[in-house]
Symmetry: C2
Subunit: 346 residues, 2 copies
């Protein structure tokens, strides 16, 4: 649906007034801004209300944008400007600082974005179903404990500490290595199964039985490596936004990560463009109906991707946040490629 130019101007003006101030705006104020008489604007606004682009809290209040109104604004009317160079440099520094592991870079990015936007953020680690185990290393730590390190073809690293019942001798190491080479190396993480593990374990001889905890741990690591994990950061930021009627409901929603994960991965699959924006009632859960979600995908290796996004009230500054999120995911993708990319010829 397309609106007349005048309606578009009015809608844009309403949105751009409401976003920074949080106050409804009436015909009189718009009249000064746009040059049409207040009566004309009243007529137009009344129609915009009927069409569902604007709302009013009560008969004699000014108008505010509806979810549909924001949507039209974001799709057709909004001007975004790229980030300032200084900003970019600052962000890049924050992203580079400290993190030296793909997961940590990603997690850290969530915190950075939360600070930048003063909103909550959601970050999912990449799930690469086609990834396979490329390397497994056993590093003895004390006599009976060892660190297990697993690398996947897509560049994910997982480690854990594992204790076994007897001293880790060469025999144990050998047995473990043989089993790893035979069953785990090159195996797709998505295809690791409980049954396979059981089978391997049940085939162990009595003197080899001590490696069982190592195999269980390795299996767990493989599973983890194939799963996407969602983090939420900066929930606390939301309290500074006065828009939320009952924030605690939203908080609870954010706390139990599963539904949010589903929402994010559903969007990943639904829309294969880089960004997706869900405004107010467009979110699939009623807990999110007063919120907007700006999601953006980053690439990880050749096949995997993850999502970074912002959660805030519907009344957020889309024109600022969208480039913010975009830049950040971009930067994360670049950092990942630069540090951990397969491509060795740069």
């Amino acid at each position: 649906m397309s609106l007349s130019q005048r309606k578009e101007k009015i809608l844009a003006a309403v949105v751009e007034h409401y976003i920074p101030t949080g106050e409804p705006i009436g015909s009189k104020a718009l009249c000064e801004e746009l040059g049409f008489s207040s009566a004309t604007i009243r007529n137009e606004m009344s129609e915009l209300c009927e069409l569902g682009f604007l709302e009013q809290k009560h008969t004699s209040s000014g108008r505010i944008p509806s979810s549909k109104g924001y949507r039209y604004y974001v799709d057709n009317l909004m001007n975004t400007s790229p980030l300032e160079d200084i900003e970019c440099a600052k962000l890049e520094a924050m992203l580079r600082s400290g993190a030296k592991t793909p997961e940590k870079i990603i997690e850290n990015a969530g915190g950075v974005l939360a600070r930048l936007t003063n909103c909550a953020t959601v970050i999912t680690t990449p799930a690469d179903k086609s990834a396979s185990i490329s390397k497994v290393e056993l590093i003895p730590a004390t006599a009976k404990t060892a660190v297990l390190v697993l690398l996947t073809s897509s560049g994910i690293i997982k480690n854990c500490v594992c204790r076994i019942d007897i001293d880790i001798n060469d025999n144990i190491k050998d047995t473990f290595k043989k089993i790893v080479d035979k069953y785990f190396i090159k195996a797709r993480v998505a295809e690791l199964s409980e049954e396979m593990l059981e089978e391997i374990i049940s085939a162990l001889g009595t003197e080899d039985y001590a490696v069982k905890p190592l195999l269980s741990a390795l299996y767990e690591l493989g599973r983890e490596a194939g799963e996407s994990k969602a983090f939420v950061r900066g929930e606390g930021n939301l309290i500074s936004h006065s828009d939320y009627a009952n924030l605690s409901e939203l908080m609870e929603f954010l706390q139990q990560r599963e539904q949010l994960s589903r929402l994010v991965s559903f969007e990943e699959n639904r829309d294969n463009s880089r960004m997706s924006i869900l405004i107010g009632s467009e979110n699939y859960f009623h807990e999110m109906e007063d919120s907007s979600l700006i999601l953006s995908r980053y690439a990880f290796g050749d096949n995997a991707m993850g999502t970074i996004g912002v959660i805030g009230p519907t009344r957020i500054d889309y024109s600022r946040l969208i480039p913010d999120v975009e830049y950040l995911t971009d930067m994360v993708g670049r950092l990942l490629a630069e540090n951990f990319g397969d491509n060795d010829n740069n």
Copy 2:
């Protein structure tokens, strides 16, 4: 300072009424509960006010406990009961699930405690200044990238991914191993210095120069291993507590972790008992003056320790939360010892 028995009874009754309800209580209600006449109670309460144990919001309101009042209650009047067995089992399961790395167990515990108490939690990873580097492993991942794993004597594991400019050949590995053995193995993490790193690097021959990124990364890992890190979880829980006048100030305080870290590590050093409780104005920062902090230490290895704690409004159920925190730190300590302890003869 010690109070008369009757004053103690009154103080306890005020606290125990205020904590669950959040409502001030007057002489009349207490009269019914305690059996003394309302006038007697009024006199006593008036004195308790003068002594600083009680407060009133305005002349004709009931009394509420002051920080000092809570303190007296916690120290002298409170009854705590240990956790139910079912609760314990549930918590243990939650703590055991997933985490297979010291850091992850600790971090996870913060989340578990946040859910359990419906408060924010703070967790610090152990800082063991006396820890030394016990093992360094270089695991090639792709031709030019490798995973670096570092273990310390106290059981901390750190890893990162590192890219160098040339292919990781045997020469590189050798050079790296020699330098590691000579300068890093057995070195105390607290004594790693920028100068030492510079020195090692400047002594590199041209053909060995490619290991520089590996050494820098290793240095970073060592530094990290010696530093305590603070996490905050469950900030969002705080909004469900109606006590806070301006929560955003507190949220901001919790977001910038440094001050909170300082507070926690200061307490670690000030008081060598297992728990410390800071109530309202006893906290050193004005952002925390409406909050209480219940901290408890867990042991990590022989020399290191970390802290787990709860942050909530002063009006929290001390008699429940104190055993909660205590049990949780206990459990974390036990889990760490069980899985990663040096002690191999159990």
